[in-house]
């Protein structure tokens, strides 16, 4: 399955969007059903241990968080991240144990590949994102290719496509509102501090 789209965000700079979309905490919060999203080492991932050690409360994100803290925890090229994603598909709500690798990350382009598995279902996906400066803000151009396997795949595209669209839609809605918070919070001089990081 292939998905792509463009999300236009007004009143923001490329740097702000880049920083926000580089923040694992914000991504985790924006992804519906995401229980945790943490960087992991190579090798087998123990999702049970990660779930047990996941913090109850997330650290602050922009605009509350300091840009330096976010830069510190930002995705890095070659970085490997584990996430537990609970997604309702038709009558089932599988929890996908997902591992994502940031294959490319060079401003303003990011490319990631990943795979997730749940009981008798799994997916493999690759996704990319480019930021494009516009007259009144930034366009996030994105695309994803996903292969779905097993029980979820058997539910058919009539069931899966709306679910995928819902996940993607909620994700960008959430990203958009969080980034808008950043852009309206100019008084703190945040924008200067964000720019200063690049």
């Amino acid at each position: 399955m292939e998905f792509d789209g463009t999300v236009s965000i007004e009143g923001v700079t490329m740097d702000e969007v880049w920083l926000a979309l580089s923040d694992p905490v914000m991504i985790k919060q924006a992804l519906p059903g995401c229980q945790f999203l943490v960087e992991v080492e190579e090798g087998d991932v123990d999702f049970d241990a990660l779930a047990a050690s996941a913090p109850d409360e997330d650290p602050p994100t922009l605009p509350e968080a300091s840009p330096e803290d976010i830069a510190e925890r930002a995705f890095v090229e070659g970085g490997r991240y584990a996430a537990l994603m609970e997604i309702s598909v038709g009558s089932v709500s599988p929890s996908f144990e997902t591992v994502v690798t940031i294959e490319e990350r060079e401003f303003p382009h990011m490319y990631a590949g990943g795979e997730g598995s749940a009981s008798n279902s799994s997916f493999e996906m690759s996704s990319w994102m480019d930021l494009v400066e516009t007259e009144d803000g930034v366009d996030v151009e994105w695309g994803a290719e996903a292969d779905v396997f097993g029980r979820v795949a058997q539910m058919g595209q009539r069931v899966i496509n709306p679910v995928a669209n819902r996940v993607v839609g909620r994700f960008f809605d959430s990203v958009e509102s969080q980034i808008s918070d950043v852009s309206t919070d100019d008084s703190s001089g945040l924008r200067d501090r964000v720019s200063g990081l690049f």
Binding site: S119, D147, G156, Q157
Partner: protein, 803 residues
């Protein structure tokens, strides 16, 4: 050959109550089906209705990938769950566990088909592990807790792609996806025919994969008694004895200690012929647990595991002269066999396909090559029609194309090449000898019913108004009544295809008939009782029919290939005649006459010339069991068993005509008319014949317009439920007018030909030909099935219908 017509009224054949039918007229009467009250009121007992004390429930873990190596299976979490009785994988079973193919071909690559995958998965439904738990849902929950470590491999689902050099190989050890190469006919003669003919017409046709969709998903319940090693399996089967024999080998259990019983079975369409892993797994589970174990497939499970049908990619060429004389036919087919060779799979795209490529026509030279191809889809095997729909589709599509190419009316081209009725038996260049036929008769009748000549004028006028109507013909032939044993043995069958029938009087004069076929919706209880009552001259209600239990019946080969009436019914006829012969001797003894002087009519024995000296056959039955006064050389009792093995297949035929209107702007197809004129030989019960035609046409229309198993590039079934796979509903099926002619078959005592598959074989090409005819002004020559609105729209808009 005597041929008569039988008209049905505008509302179809009217049923009659058996009580209102004279005994002498019972055979051939459209009496109500005696099995319907139990089916309609819910009294019927399906496998899942069977409740054995202390039963546990099995669920089967199936692969989520179509092609993968198995690195490991961790069942520990499932085993630790409450109320889980047993969990087992391939390494826990110590029986052969290899599902056999019961049909051999010279070049066949016979591959292992383990009941539980050992180190490799080859299609999405491949079984990996079995969980047995106290309750069904616990078993399913536990299956979800089994952790499988897969190494996913590239998959291939289409037979032509699978033959490419760089295609993923389904059975690595074979080094190729070619399951077999097979040919029939004479290549040189066919080449010569093409060289001499005025024209050669070529087509490429796809006969898409279909999912069977029996109303009742497959199920089994196994009951094992450790103290005497008796294992009973109640299951959804079309052939209990075949299942018993095959299962006995698969699980290494002695055949005489194994009982396979078919309770009421909700349809099969072929999908319940085959020996699947599941019944073996349920049997093994019951032996391990030493308690009854039940498994009921979910609908989505059957979509992943039921053997699918069709799956052909074919290039065909027809050599034809200016005057419409067909000189030769050349056919090259890649047939999808799926991941493994199912029970009768090798026979379907070969001897049930290539041998029917002469259709209703006198074609002097035919050559057909078929490559059977392994792919990562479920095993492909017999589905209603099994090979014969594919053959008829090729023939009837290319005949239509040839007629268009030489500018001849398609009905005239067909008629020009029919053998004359007095040329039967008619031998074809592809090994068949048609038993009897009169093809003009069904064609004439069908054309008359649709008012063909008037239609062509109407079509012209409609086109002038911007409306596009079309007519499509299908003059089909099929070979069914699957038998005879010697012939199928020569062709590679691992079994004989006779049928057994037992007729047994009770002392009180009622009759038990038992047949080795196994009905699953056909109405055998009714039709067999009609046959036996007619032969014995007893009341229809005095005859009861048993089927579907290996312990209760002599032996049997089952129900498929429209064989039950032709072979099973004939076995009953012969047994009834043996019973009458014996009864005649007893009656003669009682009447103090010579047996040759004793006549039998309407259930009464009487002395020729002295009709007052008579005795009813039911009274003779009592005498036979009392045995107080029977001839010295006669044993007590009154029963007989016959293993009937005819000399040939039977060859039903007919003409189906579809009349459609196509909207080129939306791609929608609407039926204006559908006419089916079938000749299935003598009819035992015209209402049941009509019902079979209706159901068969519904399935054929389903293939033409709606159905098709679709896989993504990873071999994932994307039509995995009825939400995405369109099974036609009542609203999708045209009103149809059925009619018939009767050309009795000479190869069985009933003169019947078989009707179970006729409609499915006939319908698809009638519909496709009609749509192509309607879109002729747009230059449309072909559209792949299913003819979805999108494909039709694309075809009308000039891109060949590729979606």
């Amino acid at each position: 050959m005597a041929t008569e017509e039988r008209r049905s009224g505008p509302d179809g054949v009217e049923t009659v109550d058996a009580d209102d039918v004279d005994a002498a007229d019972i055979l051939g009467s459209a009496i109500e089906r005696r099995e319907d009250p139990s089916l309609l009121t819910g009294d019927a007992e399906y496998t899942d209705d069977i409740q054995l004390p202390d039963s546990a429930h099995a669920a089967i873990l199936r692969s989520q990938y179509a092609h993968a190596r198995i690195e490991g299976i961790d069942t520990s979490e499932a085993e630790a769950m409450d109320d889980v009785v047993d969990v087992f994988t391939a390494e826990d079973i110590d029986v052969p566990g290899n599902l056999p193919t019961a049909w051999d071909l010279d070049t066949l690559r016979t591959v292992d088909h383990p009941v539980l995958a050992e180190d490799r998965i080859r299609y999405q439904g491949d079984a990996l592990a079995v969980v047995v738990a106290e309750e069904r849902y616990q078993a399913h929950d536990a299956v979800d807790r089994i952790d499988v470590d897969y190494d996913r491999l590239e998959a291939v689902t289409d037979p032509e792609t699978a033959l490419d050099d760089d295609a993923p190989v389904v059975h690595e050890e074979e080094g190729t996806n070619t399951a077999f190469d097979w040919e029939i006919g004479d290549a040189d003669e066919t080449d010569a025919a093409f060289a001499e003919a005025d024209h050669a017409v070529g087509i490429d046709v796809t006969n898409q994969l279909l999912i069977p969709n029996a109303m009742e998903p497959r199920a089994a319940i196994a009951d094992y008694d450790d103290s005497d090693d008796e294992l009973t399996l109640h299951m959804t089967t079309q052939n209990p004895h075949v299942h018993r024999l095959l299962l006995s080998g698969v699980i290494d259990h002695p055949e005489h200690k194994l009982r396979v019983r078919a309770p009421d079975v909700g349809g099969g369409f072929g999908s319940k012929i085959h020996h699947y892993a599941d019944e073996a797994l349920v049997a093994l589970a019951a032996k391990r647990a030493e308690r009854p174990v039940k498994w009921q497939a979910t609908r989505t499970e059957t979509y992943l595991t039921d053997a699918q049908g069709r799956g052909h990619e074919t290039h065909a060429e027809l050599a034809v002269d200016d005057d419409g004389t067909i000189r030769g036919l050349r056919v090259d087919t890649a047939a999808n066999m799926g991941a493994y060779l199912s029970t009768f799979a090798p026979a379907v795209p070969t001897y049930l396909y290539g041998t029917l490529l002469s259709g209703q026509y006198d074609i002097p030279a035919i050559h057909c090559e078929v490559s059977g191809v392994f792919t990562n889809v479920p095993p492909v095997d017999a589905y209603r029609g099994a090979g014969r729909p594919e053959a008829s589709f090729v023939v009837e599509r290319i005949v239509k194309e040839a007629a268009d190419a030489i500018g001849m009316d398609p009905t005239e081209l067909r008629r020009h090449n029919f053998p004359d009725p007095d040329e039967f038996p008619h031998a074809t260049p592809v090994a068949m000898e048609y038993d009897s036929g009169d093809y003009d008769k069904t064609l004439d009748r069908a054309l008359d019913l649709v008012d063909y000549d008037e239609f062509r004028e109407r079509q012209e006028r409609a086109r002038e108004e911007g409306r596009y109507i079309g007519v499509g013909l299908s003059c089909y032939i099929e070979a069914c009544g699957l038998a005879p044993s010697e012939l199928v043995g020569e062709l590679g069958a691992g079994a004989g295809l006779w049928e057994s029938g037992l007729v047994r009087f009770t002392p009180s004069g009622t009759v038990k008939a038992a047949v080795g076929t196994s009905g699953h919706g056909q109405g055998h209880d009714t039709t067999y009782a009609q046959v036996v009552a007619n032969e014995l001259g007893v009341d229809y209600d005095d005859v009861d029919v048993d089927e579907g239990d290996t312990d209760a019946l002599p032996q049997g080969m089952g129900t498929y290939g429209s064989r039950s009436a032709a072979v099973g019914g004939s076995a009953l006829v012969q047994s009834a005649r043996k019973v009458v012969d014996k009864a005649r001797k007893i009656a003669a003894h009682q009447l103090e006459a010579d047996p040759i002087d004793v006549e039998f009519e309407d259930g009464e024995f009487y002395v020729a010339g002295a009709p007052d000296r008579s005795m009813g056959v039911q009274d003779v039955a009592l005498e036979a069991y009392l045995a107080h006064d029977i001839p010295d050389d006669i044993e007590p009792g009154l029963e007989a068993t016959t293993f009937f093995d005819p000399d040939n297949f039977v060859f039903p035929f007919g003409t189906h005509v579809a009349v459609v209107e196509v909207d080129p702007d939306t791609g929608e197809i609407e039926f204006e008319d559908y006419v089916a004129v079938d000749d299935v030989g003598n009819q035992i019960n015209p209402k049941i014949v009509e019902g079979q035609i209706h159901g068969g046409v519904a399935q054929g229309v389903g293939q033409a317009l709606y159905e098709g198993a679709e896989y993504d590039e990873n071999g994932q079934l994307v039509t995995g439920s009825m939400q995405d796979y369109t099974v036609p509903k009542a609203e999708h099926i045209p009103d149809m007018e059925t009619d018939s002619t009767t050309t009795p078959s000479p190869v069985n005592p009933l003169g019947v030909k078989g009707v179970g598959e006729a409609g499915t074989i006939a319908a698809p090409q009638a519909v496709v030909n009609a749509v192509v005819d309607a879109l002729e002004p747009f230059g449309v020559e072909d559209i792949d099935m299913p003819l979805t609105n999108e494909r039709v729209w694309r075809a009308a808009h000039g891109n060949g219908g590729d979606s």
